[in-house]
Symmetry: C2
Subunit: 299 residues, 2 copies
């Protein structure tokens, strides 16, 4: 389906612009020695990335006709968490990456200590945005979002997945273990994006099964596509170093399944993700377009 | 006043035990490769430190007869933030410390990447505790606590102060600048501890002036005492490396004021802190005892 990414292009452009504008407003540089910290946060947060997670929040909110402004506030919170995790992930003691989103990583453009603090600060900012009374969100909605975010981001979610990934260097992971690792490392935050739509849409916990099914399948397809990109892509297009997993001898979906089966598996997951949306009409079109886009990025 | 720390001893013992028990319950080690992350969190969080910040929350709650169990939940959140900040502060790229609270720092006992993730995870845990519906706290109270915490911990608070401290290596700070730096780096979290008492006690924003005055004076006295300890103390008693500021050529209250004037200044600030409590009776005795204890620690 070569047209799918074309369909998504205006939505990606719009969300990119909206997120950049909001970060610019949210991070004015103070006139004292904290300036360096804010400059580092801006370097990481503004002008880069596909903003897939913010777009997922907006698309999930579309399902329940949640106002775009409300969706964008939560989208900012999840992007703060994503950017913080990238900054810390890129540190020399973690993945040791020099480039990210086509720019030097924060510890390269600034220094390691500033990178640690910039990540920590964006981490706080995410919760600050969700708690903010200015959201006019019902207080129970705000609290449920905060709890869902801490579960997705913390030691049983994303951070736990990163720990598994670190330990993976010494262990031999099979397909089940790699799936579990990725469901935490990248899947937990993607799960939050969909869950947020349900929470803001006032959908009861028991009614969120299609959202969770979509998120799970999309998250895995997304990761397989990332693994494929790591093998087949160019560093210029990806904006970061590639083929690091292979060098480190880490098990990935591609190393475990082979190129051909990995591709088939990703396509199957995307078909499945879209099937979870069967009970929705046009209001799910953006989620469907995102799913198709997930496996045809930047090749 | 040699009797002051004796008065505080039972309270310090009780809070230490309560916090340890709660961390033990809160951080069960999972049976997968996330285990290492939880072990690192437990290493940092359990069995160490004077638990001054939790004790301050409890003491501030005493002022308004807030139930001890409610106070302890918020005390756990602030201790999570404090411990996360110590883990990241101790990293080689930050203060590069090998010992903390008489034990190897997390990156020494584990590794740097695990230390980054353990800090990040405790950071999430703090917000999770405050948002938790199980607190039975009014939702507006929970949200106000979360916003106060993110302001105290984030880039305009503690993290901003740490940035100032990093930049200080290259700049010549005078007394005003060092005061401002410390009011953010250590003062912001101390301010939160007192503010939390006011929030949970249902005290209107405009009525919290004595709490803020006490916190500001105590925070500075605490830091001067720390600077004095850094010059006069023993590493065995402090449980960490000392005299690092002097080696780094950093301006401190002691280097700027001299020993004698620093001591007088700390005493004056403590007298002032206690004066802010003049309108309270016995219910402020714990806060008074903490203030006196602040300048006679571990010599």
């Amino acid at each position: 389906m070569p047209g799918a990414s074309l369909t998504l292009k205006p939505a990606l452009d719009a969300i990119g612009k909206a997120i950049d504008q909001r970060f610019d407003r949210l991070l004015p540089v103070p006139e004292d020695s904290r300036a360096r910290l804010f400059e580092a946060m801006r370097h990481a947060a503004i002008g880069g990335g596909k903003r897939m997670r913010p777009l997922l929040v907006v698309a999930a909110c579309d399902l329940f006709h949640v106002d775009r402004e409300r969706a964008l506030r939560v989208a900012m919170a999840i992007e703060c968490i994503h950017v913080y995790s990238l900054i810390h992930d890129d540190l020399p003691c973690m993945d040791d990456d020099d480039m990210r989103r086509g720019k030097p990583t924060v510890h390269k453009a600034f220094d390691e200590a500033t990178a640690v603090l910039a990540g920590d600060s964006l981490h706080d900012l995410a919760y600050d945005i969700l708690a903010d009374a200015a959201t006019h969100e019902d207080p129970f909605v705000r609290l449920e979002l905060i709890q869902a975010l801490s579960a997705a981001s913390g030691p049983m979610g994303m951070a736990g997945g990163q720990m598994m990934d670190l330990v993976a260097g010494d262990a031999l992971y099979d397909l089940g273990a790699v799936t579990r690792l990725q469901q935490l490392k990248t899947g937990a935050l993607i799960g939050f994006c969909l869950e947020a739509g349900g929470i803001m849409g006032g959908i009861a916990d028991g009614q969120r099964t299609p959202l969770r099914g979509y998120a799970r399948d999309l998250g895995l397809a997304f990761q397989i596509a990332d693994d494929l990109l790591d093998v087949e892509g160019t560093e210029a297009a990806a904006g970061k170093a590639l083929r690091k997993d292979e060098e480190a001898g880490k098990a990935t979906f591609v190393s475990l399944l082979g190129l051909e089966r990995a591709r088939t598996q990703a396509q199957m997951l995307i078909d499945q993700a879209i099937l979870h949306l069967a009970s929705f009409g046009q209001e799910a079109d953006l989620l469907r377009a995102i799913a198709r886009f997930a496996i045809e990025r930047d090749r």
